[in-house]
Symmetry: C2
Subunit: 455 residues, 2 copies
């Protein structure tokens, strides 16, 4: 069977720890079995691998998340990236084309699509197993997971089943209808009818979706060709395009632990500690969580019911009951990301200074390269850079010349000069960018290969 | 007449904006008449100069505050610095010796000593004028200011006057006794007796104090000699050593605006705006003040009755009613100051990174030099530095060689290498220090003179 994890998200509601290139599923904040911390997507992938499903995993995501996925999951999963952000139907369609064309999956192979970020217990994967069984047993063309509601939520869509037919409440039930996010009153009524939350988990045979996809593209073409006409797919959700139109839909109920860690309030409930990072809560502080990714201390005195989160992107101080409402305020900030996880390592911005004139932008970064990784060979047309190496050993390539660099070495990289660096051991350097203005896309990439290690 | 402002303070209670070299009186947070912001000491000095007192001002302080005073007040005040921190009696004694020996003041010149940080209205200086009149009129050897109490505070000492003798309640009254910080019950009783808060303002003839001083040192010596035996003075407050022993003490009442801006709660009441720096309060936030000296945004959502303060030293989130209790927590942080105001300009630390081994400390600073100022000629025995100039124009001296430096220039300063820089225009550079470990006192200073400007 094939499992497709949808990894999207704008990263606004867990600001300032998440940002556009670092969505909430990548935050390494959850307590991991090894005593460390893991991200939501790392947790889900670990759970899948330790389950009995035996599934191949493919992550469907956008180009901007490729580096974070590679950094957190390595080569253990397939990755298919949308050329542009559209909606869940096109994203799932592209993933199915990838499974068919690139992985050579057969038309009757069961596919399960699920989010990459739910906080769940292992019984979730038992429910997925039952969904796969229902697909294999031709119970329906499309099988959904229905989350047993805790309370009459107005945030989720509901799935209304036919009256339970089987003797086992865990069995698949025919779906009578879908209901969009209801009012609180309507939600109470839906729950009394046995309705379940739509958890965004879908199971089907690959061939079933390929048939729907063929309405928009000719599935005879190669995957690369199909990917290049991604804009042929309508901007529509999978729920609208597939689930609501399907004439044969079943739902498998799930009643285990299931949390949407979409807000700081929800996330704080599953953190391993009330403080992460350099943080102090005084004895008068109550029901407060602090996550501090800055190198400076955070001190909370006499506060109640707060989430305090700090990163190079900014500082949030929010009442836990108001965390839902941060999104529009964060959207107005619209700053560049101040830290990112890349395939080669991480960086954080220490300062962005603007002298007030054109040609006066300065960006100071702390860059960390994992041993064995390298930054690609590139040049910039609008900025010069000064690198001061502060830790580890690396190999620098500058206009074709390779030298060894260590703590204390300083490199001036002029506008237009080709440069790359490879970490021999874990490597850190401070980069001062001087630009006019700072354009992130100001990169020309070149082919190169590293000489045999002479370090 | 001579006015001595006592400028001390450990800077703990207004952390993280104040620190050991930048006490609360230097925080530029108060709304100034020109629409900008001024510090407590700038406000007091401005008020004195616009008053009718016609006083010469001398600041009595510690060596660590000399740069901040010079930066904020320029050459308009005299400065006398203690060789070591003792208490208020030695500090005032040294200032009096300075007035007598260095400034040549006569023994019958009236001297008024006051704190450098009270938040007061202009009528405060009328009261000081009446204190000076009382000294001149031989009403008493020592005249104190008594602040008319607002409430039965347990934080202040009280001055109990004899029953008012004059017809005018603003007249000087004989002091019956002093009372230390009382219980709340005792405070109510004291107020019913007409007691006043001891505001730490003292007026006397210079000769009166010189006589007391001569118990400890021989006033016949030069000021420099007297300063070098500063440790001869006992560690005792002026209240204990002088006021409580004096047999002729009067008090002049003051009933105008008088605030001790010693806590964030008190300070927030006089700020010109609820947010200073990059800060957003949502519409659900109530009675909250944010002061953000970091370059990144701070967002407050649904919070109530808070002070949020952020600087390169750290982040404070405190309930306004608990601000009194931050001091012990701040003392435990005991980090190096992360920003300072110096006679030549300012710096802030962008990052302090430690690789975990000896010889692996790295400090990244943003340094700002005011036009015309220079950093003294120096060398370091335990650290190298890399300077990247990002704004303005300067003259660099490196082992005796002078060159012009501008945006984009990079200078490597090796261990032991002599260096200085002078700002021709306002000048900024990023400094990366690599040390083993970073010792702030790792400075050897050299004499030098700048060649005639050839820039």
């Amino acid at each position: 069977m094939q499992l497709v994890l949808l990894s999207g998200g704008s990263g606004k509601r867990l600001w300032p720890l998440s940002n556009d290139s670092y969505s909430k599923q990548f935050l390494r904040l959850l307590p991991a079995p090894d005593g460390g911390e893991e991200s939501m997507v790392q947790r889900v992938v670990r759970q899948i691998k330790s389950s009995a499903l035996g599934a191949d995993i493919t992550i469907a995501t956008g180009e901007s998340q490729r580096d974070a996925i590679s950094c957190q999951l390595g080569d253990t999963v397939g990755v298919v990236t949308e050329p542009e952000r559209r909606d869940t139907f096109p994203a799932i369609a592209l993933a199915c084309l990838y499974l068919s064309k690139q992985k050579g999956c057969a038309a009757d192979e069961p596919v399960v699509v699920m989010p990459s970020d739910p906080y769940i217990d292992d019984s979730y994967f038992d429910a997925i197993g039952r969904m796969v069984e229902a697909v294999k047993g031709y119970v329906a063309n499309l099988v959904l997971m229905g989350i047993r509601p805790d309370y009459p939520s107005t945030k989720f869509g509901y799935i209304v089943p036919e009256a339970a037919s089987g003797s086992n409440v865990a069995d698949a039930m025919r779906v009578k209808r879908f209901t969009e996010k209801p009012t609180a009153e309507k939600a109470v009524e839906l729950i009394s009818l046995g309705a379940l939350w739509n958890g965004g988990v879908f199971a089907f045979r690959l061939g079933y979706l390929l048939e729907i996809i063929s309405k928009y593209v000719d599935c005879g073409h190669s995957f690369d060709d199909l990917r290049s006409c991604y804009s042929c797919f309508p901007k529509i959700s999978f729920d609208y395009e597939v689930a609501e139109k399907a004439d044969s839909v079943a739902v498998v109920p799930f009643a285990g632990v299931w949390k949407d860690l979409g807000t700081w309030n929800a996330l704080s409930e599953v953190l391993g500690s009330s403080t992460i990072g350099k943080s102090t809560l005084d004895s008068a502080s109550v029901n407060t969580h602090v996550v501090n990714r800055l190198g400076i201390p955070c001190l909370c005195i006499g506060v109640k019911n707060l989430v305090v989160a700090a990163s190079p992107d900014g500082i949030l101080v929010a009442d836990k009951d108001c965390c839902e409402s941060i999104k529009p305020y964060v959207e107005r900030l619209c700053a560049r990301p101040m830290f990112e996880e890349r395939r080669w390592g991480t960086y954080k911005v220490l300062e962005h200074h603007n002298g007030g004139e054109s040609n006066s932008d300065t960006l100071v970064k702390h860059i960390f390269l994992n041993a064995g990784k390298n930054i690609s060979y590139q040049a910039h047309n609008h900025r010069s850079e000064v690198w001061t190496f502060i830790e580890g050993e690396g190999e620098l390539m500058l206009d074709g010349e390779v030298t060894t660099v260590r703590r204390g070495d300083v490199v001036n990289i002029a506008v237009g000069q080709k440069h790359a660096v490879r970490a021999v051991t874990d490597l850190r350097f401070v980069e001062v960018q001087l630009g006019s203005p700072l354009i992130e896309e100001d990169i020309v990439r070149y082919e190169m290969s590293w000489p045999v290690n002479h370090g």
